[in-house]
Structure formats: structure tokens, C-alpha cells
Symmetry: C2
Subunit: 377 residues, 2 copies
């Protein structure tokens, strides 16, 4: 009865864990939720005069598109507002780009590990994966990358504070990748939701800003900097792709929520960067707390890098371990963790975890890590 | 470079016309916009205490799902909240149902004429169409329907104030169709956005409420009763379909806008039905104005039925006419109209228009129709 793609609609481990993790009393390192204290709350008084109740434009509110284009130009992406498509969350961008490029057998270069919900969407549309190992210290493996690029029809990269590895591609690597994509003519889909959450200095220019010839889609999100509940993201695309993506967006939801668009436009016109400056210390403190807790409780069992941005620690066990069994036992002990193999399209051959630090207090981070340690010993 | 489905991504005549129709001074019968005077404006004071800024549940806010299920039960759909999926506009439901059922060659029973944006989505995913002629007076052709049902893998119907024909299936017809779908085991996708806009008495129970065995998805919208800018709709599905649709929704946008969900929950808890009662006289007056204007200016050239609900007149010319040329000339004369053949998967063999009455004042309706008449004579 169903379309064949439904067989590829994987049951989401993440959904199941997140449901369990939201039980009262559970310390959750499993999700990727912003700190409650960091959520942006729109000013109700500024809703009074809005006129955003009628149908709107598929591409987004014109002023918001202008504001997003201006932010992108400041990052080194040559673009104008006509290339901006407002999204109902950047997950929608993954759906639209999947529809544009991917059918059964389309070969997609992905990082290993990679953002899970992107992999799931690509798989739903029939992608075959060309994984490129991303080391938390050295970044993408050059041999893997070149081999994959020879066959790839689309490359999906999250070069800035990658979820889950935390890795941030430096300038030289970005230049090399841009040149390779240009030479191969492979479209780049660059996903950049964590850029503003930079704890130790700003991130390098996006890779799409370094391309000369290859087609590209760049996307960002307001969920990490403002509020996920407002469900708004954006994509910016090479001009040749914009008409197709716009029609795909129209078929998906006609247009995005206009109230959220106006609230976020208000934030962009004054307050977004101040808000980010206010929330960064909260995240930095929690990141440092998790680093200290890992050192204190698990230092002899795991290796990890302190992330310079984003929301996650990527933790690798020195000895192989059944992380799914650990996850179950940890949940029973009131700690939610995410097994790392969920982020691979093929088994990684070692044991790892993704641990979120943004949604727990420093005290809970230490307590959760202590509970994990007692399970492991 | 692109997936094959992009070849099926039809350039949208509607988009082009709507862009032209929004120019100042143009009287538009082309779109399907609610009256500006009828738009629901949320009370900013009630936003103050909302806590809806974090990530939410894919299925929707629990209280909203309960409220929607209660409304559906009152319509005669046996369901509970677990079967409700909140949507980012009911267009998203069309995308999700397309993903669930349709791949290349899937045979879909559709009305002729049918809702254009549904046909476009089905086509994008590769549907072959089995059209059933819907007469504005007699409804769906029984012969067409039975022939189509023998081959169909999915049936898409908008039985209540159908867009564009305006037809409303009576009880006996709904019963017969439900029995036929049950016998054939063909899933029914019932799209019901106009139900509340009933000018001459409530619409009959939805067809899905009459099914015994066939799988089903029912969907509705808050865009016609409250405000399109809040971009919220819902679907209710047979329990076997809910897990798949939920995962498809998660891959599309994680969850719907939480602020809109809470604003619409507030409306459902008090005010929605009063709001609808207030706006119905506006629509009824405009419908009657268009009926009078058609009679006055075009009575000898066209046939039409006064719609008992919804937003459109379906107008058929007594003599064949190039409606696309008329559309161009009308635009130059400051009137936007929608050629009727856009709503068919195969040419209908006669000339027709869809005319929207909800977004123009009675004065503008008369003036627009006078301009059309002068072009036609």
C-alpha cells in the first residue's frame, strides 16, 4: 500500500531516547536543546501592530530576506535577497534539497559521523552514501574525501562546529574543499546552524563563499540563537537553484509562518547579536563544566576534544563497549546519552557517544557524568 | 544534476497570476484569500505567559491535539488525540500523504476539476491520475468513479464545497463512496479546508467517518477560519498510518510552530466558533454580490451554480473561448481571473473559470465583472 520509500523510513532512535529523556528527573545529554535560560522571548507589545495574518509569499517576507542576505554578505557569501528562501526550520531545507537532488541511487558525500536527521532524509529519498571520516582533531580524511568526490552527485557538509563531532574546518581546509568541489562540479549543501555559538572566536567564512563554479545551497537556523519554538530557518542558494527550491517549498507548505518571520525580523533589526552575546557565557560555562566532569569522572576511559562551538562533546571509548546497552542502563539511572553509531551510515568500528552540554546546569552535568562513571566501573 | 522529479515540477500558473493580481488597483478573483476583514488577530496580551520557545513534539502540542480530536468527534469522526498530527498548514499534509503513498506510477483517483496544489504535489512524486468528472450540480460521475476505483491505489477527494467546483457531496453520495472505498480497500485522503464556511446550513459528516475498513487521512485547516499567516492545519489518520506520517513530519520540519499552536489553541478554547459566526455574513454578502454581478453582466454567456460554501464560483462558458488569452486581457484591464483548465489533469473540452469572491468588496466584485463583460463583448 505504501510507497517504497517508507521501507527506508528508519525508526528514529533519537525520537525514542528524547521521549525517555524528557521524563522528570532525567539528566539529559541526549538531545540538542538550547539552554532554557538562553531562549529568546518576543516582546508581546511588538506583536500589536503586526499585519501578518493573510497568506504570504513562498520565498518569505521581503524585509526578512533582505536582512538575512545582509547577514550572509557579512559572512562572505556574495548574495542578494532574491537568493534567500525563508524556511519552516532548517530541517525543511534538508527536505527541499533532498527533493531537488536525490532519487534512488543518488550518491551523496556525507561526513562520518554526520547530522542524523539529514542522513535520514537523504535515505528516505533513496541516497547511497559516500562517507568521509571526520576526525575530531584532524577533520575530514583527505583520501576519503577525494575518493568520494569522484563519484558524488551531491556533497553535504556541516563544517562549522559539526554535529556531532564538534569539529570546525579551518580556512585552509575550506579553501581546498571549495577548489575540489569547483573542479568536480559537485553541488555543495552546507548546513551551518551552530555558527553563532562560537565560544573561542568567530568561525571561518563558509565554504560556499569560496566557491567559483559549483552550485551550492547554504542554510542556517534561528533555533540555536533565538528559539526553536519559532521554527524558522533560511537557505541561500546559487541563483540557478532558487526557482526550483521555491516551487518545492510552495508544494511543501505554501509559505512559512508569518508571525515568526516578523518576530525574527524584529530581532535581526535590533537585538539578535546582543542576545547571542548574552547567551554565550551560559554555553561556555556548561561546555567547561562538561569538560571538567569528563576529566574528573571518565578521564581514563574516553578521549575527547573540548569543542570550540556548537552544543556537543564527541566522546570515544578507549575500549570497545556496547553503547546501546549503556544507554539503557544509563536511562534507568536517570541519565540520557546518545550512542555515537547512530551518526554513521556504516558502523564506525569503535565505540562513541554524543553528549549535549547545553541543556543541563553545571551541577547536573557533573552529577550525570558521575552516574555514567559508576555504571562503567 | 537534479532528481528526475524536478522535470515534473510544473511552473505554477497560479503563482504567476497571484503575483500579478497583488498589484495595486487590480481587482482579484484569482486567488483564494480570506477577506481581510475576516482575519483573526490573536490577543498580544495572551502571548505574555506562553512557554512555547523550546523544541516541541513532532505530533503537536498535546492540548491542541486533544481539542482538534474533540472537534472531529463532533463531526462524526471516531478518533482520539493520538491520531492527530498538527501540520504547518494543510499543504504540508498533502506533502506527507504524497510521500506515504505515491511513487512513480502510483494511480491516484482525483476529482476533475481538483485542487491544483494537491495535483501538483502528487505529480511531483510521480502519480498517474484517474480523473473523475465532478459536475457542479450532479457531483462525481458514477461511471468514472467506479472505473477509477478499480485501478486506484489512493483516492483524493474534497467533498465539502470543493475547490474549484463548489460542489458539496450530499449524505447519500458520501455513503455510497464510503462503501465503495471499503469494498475496494482503497485509502481515502479527504481534504476538508472549507467546511466551516457553510452559508446555507452545515455540511454533511465527512466521508472518513463513514468508512468501516479502508485506511484514511482526513485534514483540515485554520487558514480559512482564523488566519493563513499562522500557517496551521491538522490531519487525523487511521491508527495504522499515524507512525509513518509522524516520522515523515519529523523529517520535514521536526515540528510545527509552537507559538501558532498556542494561539490557535486559545481560539479553540473560546472564540473560534463565535469568530466563524461573525465572518460568515461577510462571505455570504460577497457570494451573493458575485451571483448578482454574474447574472447582471455575464448571464447570457456563462452557466454557474451559487455555491453553498467555500470561496469560489465555478463558471462555464456556453461557447468555447481561450481563457488564457482572456486572463491576459483581463489583467491589462485590472481584473485577475483563473482559467479553469488549470484544475484538470487532462483538458476538460470546454472553457471555464474559477472566480474567488471572498477577497473583494461587493462594489469591486460588480466593477470587476463589468470589466470582464466589456472584454467579452
Amino acid at each position: 500500500m505504501f510507497a517504497k520509500r517508507i521501507e527506508r523510513l528508519t525508526s528514529s532512535l533519537v525520537r525514542d531516547i528524547l521521549a525517555a529523556a524528557s521524563r522528570p528527573g532525567v539528566i539529559s545529554f541526549a538531545g540538542g536543546l538550547p539552554a532554557e535560560e538562553a531562549l529568546y522571548r518576543p516582546d508581546p507589545a511588538r506583536i500589536q501592530d503586526l499585519n501578518c495574518w493573510q497568506y504570504g509569499q513562498t520565498e518569505g517576507e521581503p524585509q526578512l530576506r533582505e536582512a538575512i542576505a545582509a547577514e550572509a554578505r557579512a559572512l562572505g557569501i556574495a548574495c542578494d535577497a532574491s537568493q534567500v528562501l525563508v524556511l519552516s526550520g532548517s530541517q525543511q531545507g534538508i527536505d527541499l534539497v533532498s527533493k531537488l537532488f536525490i532519487e534512488e541511487g543518488t550518491r551523496v558525500l556525507v561526513e562520518a559521523p554526520a547530522y542524523l536527521a539529514a542522513v535520514q532524509s537523504f535515505r528516505l529519498f533513496g541516497a547511497d552514501f559516500l562517507p568521509v571520516t571526520v576526525d575530531p582533531v584532524a577533520g575530514p580524511d583527505a583520501g576519503d574525501f577525494n575518493t568520494a568526490l569522484e563519484q558524488a552527485q551531491l556533497a553535504y557538509l556541516t563544517p562549522t562546529f559539526q554535529n556531532p563531532s564538534g569539529y570546525c574546518y579551518p580556512d585552509a581546509q575550506r579553501d581546498r574543499i571549495a577548489a575540489a568541489l569547483d573542479a568536480a562540479g559537485v553541488p555543495l549543501f552546507e548546513d551551518d546552524p551552530y555558527r553563532e555559538l562560537a565560544f573561542d572566536g568567530a568561525a571561518p567564512q563558509p565554504i560556499v563563499g569560496r566557491l567559483q563554479r559549483a552550485p551550492w545551497v547554504y542554510q542556517g537556523s534561528f533555533s540555536k540563537t533565538l528559539a526553536p519554538g519559532l521554527r524558522l530557518g533560511f537557505l541561500i542558494a546559487h541563483p540557478d537553484l532558487v526557482p526550483h527550491l521555491t516551487r518545492l517549498k510552495q508544494a511543501a507548505d505554501l509559505h512559512s509562518n508569518r508571525l515568526s518571520q516578523h518576530l525574527i525580523l524584529q530581532a535581526l533589526q535590533g537585538g539578535l547579536h546582543e542576545h547571542v552575546a548574552q547567551i554565550l557565557p551560559i554555553y561556555r560555562e556548561r561546555r567547561d563544566a562538561m569538560a571538567a566532569a569528563l576529566e574528573r569522572h571518565l578521564g581514563d576511559l574516553v578521549t575527547w576534544q573540548k569543542p570550540v562551538g556548537g552544543l556537543f562533546f564527541w566522546v570515544r571509548f578507549k575500549q570497545p563497549l556496547d553503547t546501546h546497552a549503556l544507554m539503557q542502563r544509563a536511562l534507568e539511572a536517570g541519565v540520557a546519552i546518545m550512542p555515537g553509531d547512530a551518526f554513521y551510515t556504516a558502523p564506525p568500528g569503535f565505540s562513541c557517544l554524543r553528549l549535549n552540554f547545553s541543556h543541563s546546569t553545571p551541577q547536573d552535568i557533573d552529577e550525570g557524568m558521575a552516574r555514567l562513571a559508576s555504571l562503567l566501573r
